[in-house]
Symmetry: C2
Subunit: 270 residues, 2 copies
DNA sequence: CGCGCGCTTGAGTTAATTCAAGTTTCGTGG
DNA sequence: CCACGAAACTTGAATTAACTCAAGCGCGCG
């Protein structure tokens, strides 16, 4: 089914023509290795492969959800548009990401490719039928939904409780999830995509990144490549460890209960 | 199992001692009537009933997720705290809401009661086993997860793309989902809860609500009761139909594609 | 009766936006 | 091969939405 060889399972990113060189893979999507729900689905349910070029659409908001899509390689963005033309990118989807689960009647968002992307599509009724008869399919679907639920909750938290700069720091941490401190990590999407994902402007993204560099938190090799110098300091910053500054509203409770963001690391496989 | 009679399935709200009088039920939670996943679960899986007083805790972040909870009546809030004491209320849960589905290892958030609340708790392994053997349980669990996914996505969108005032307007619309224009609708939680849910301050909530009143969008009978005078105008406002003002960043595309928020109405049962 | 809590309102401050250049890179066509 | 133009990104200056701080009000409870 796949005549396109996988030089690298998780990402053939070649943003802008710059080859990914020796840059570490950016986050996006579930951690590979651990048998992902998408892998399971591919084994158990027949699907079709497709290759998309940057900008090509996978799904359109409002459509009847006929298919469930899995990202094999590359990167997509899932977004909504408002009447007045604003865009919100709900999430990015890298290898392993499944789109279209749990739809209630209509497609919740549009999606298109950012980089050249290979996807599998499963017909929704087929997946449903398979899930009904095969416990393994069921498990995969449940796990995928659970992961998305986790992700969504984290994203909601990020938008709801973090100031602009903190959101951006958190996002960089997420990008560099699998990249050790000091190693370069590629930023596979443009500033506008980041801005629309985090609910800020491109200028704010740019300024924040450069401010992080000046503060010694990161190093920016070029606009699309950075290194986290101290993920610990970065995390501390996200959690408000320092700046009592404004911009972050919300009730301040007695403080210092248990928590902290369960760290941008996805719960791996759980 | 239920020796506590249901005077009204959906809400015995009596915020602050003020009885709900003839106020319409505020949103919160799935629309009743349509057979809800929680109803199905109650029929199919044994569970325990409990009654909680305002402030009592249902779950604590970080705990092992041993049980799945369903709200029968009343109102809860699900939240996280940061190291520096800020709180984010991920969602409110009214009758029909299920908490604890799809957990991957740990409880994602704490939850406590806002009003006196009756809940059922199911042991997670029991639900899982039942889901494995009974297609009806399975369907209920899947549907509940799908609904939460939908909700989460809407909430994320609200936080990510809407300006403070619009978030508040959207929230009021959600509250008054089942209340016809011109009829009073109760606000079952305090300003601080609203603020922590929407990522703004209590002052901003208060000011926005009063500004809406001055603009003729709503009427505020008392701090905990309002009427939407024109939900159409309100919705237009949320979607940025008017104010091109600042505060709402994000790329402005050519504008006016298909969409608009699929309206704060939940997709009913789908 | 008075304290406390929840809510409102005003004034000043600030984070983040808008507007406006300016730079660099990359692709295209002469 | 170089020039030009577009796109992506950066940076500065002015503006503003939303925050913080600070009262002040009203109501319910002890």
């Amino acid at each position: 089914m796949s005549d396109v060889r996988d030089p690298c399972f998780s990402c053939p990113h070649s943003v802008h023509g710059r080859s990914a060189a020796r840059t570490n893979h950016p986050f996006i999507g579930p951690l590979p290795g651990s048998d992902s729900p998408l892998d399971a689905l591919r084994r158990l349910v027949p699907g079709l492969m497709r290759v998309l070029q940057p900008g090509q659409s996978l799904a359109t908001e409002g459509d009847a959800p006929g298919e469930i899509l899995g990202v094999l390689s590359g990167l997509i963005r899932c977004y909504r548009l408002t009447a007045d033309g604003r865009r919100h990118i709900g999430r990015f989807g890298g290898p392993g990401t499944i789109v279209g689960l749990g739809l209630l009647g209509v497609q919740r968002h549009s999606a298109d490719a950012i980089t050249p992307t290979r996807i599998v599509s499963f017909r929704a009724p087929v997946v449903e039928a398979a899930a009904d008869s095969d416990p393994a399919v069921r498990a995969a679907v449940m796990k995928a939904m659970a992961e998305e639920l986790n992700d969504r909750e984290r994203l909601q938290l990020r938008l709801g409780r973090l100031a602009a700069e903190q959101r951006i720091a958190d996002f960089l941490l997420e990008l560099a999830r699998r990249t050790p401190d000091g190693s370069p990590c590629e930023i596979p999407m443009c500033r506008a995509d980041i801005a629309d994902h985090l609910g800020v402007t491109i200028e704010t993204v740019s300024r924040a990144v450069h401010r992080f560099e000046r503060r010694g938190l990161i190093r920016l090799d070029d606009p699309r490549r950075f290194r986290i110098l101290s993920s610990a300091a970065m995390r501390a910053f996200v959690l408000g460890g320092e700046q009592p500054a404004a911009g972050t509203p919300c009730t301040r409770l007695p403080a210092a209960q248990a928590m902290t963001l369960p760290a941008p690391q996805s719960p791996a496989a759980s």
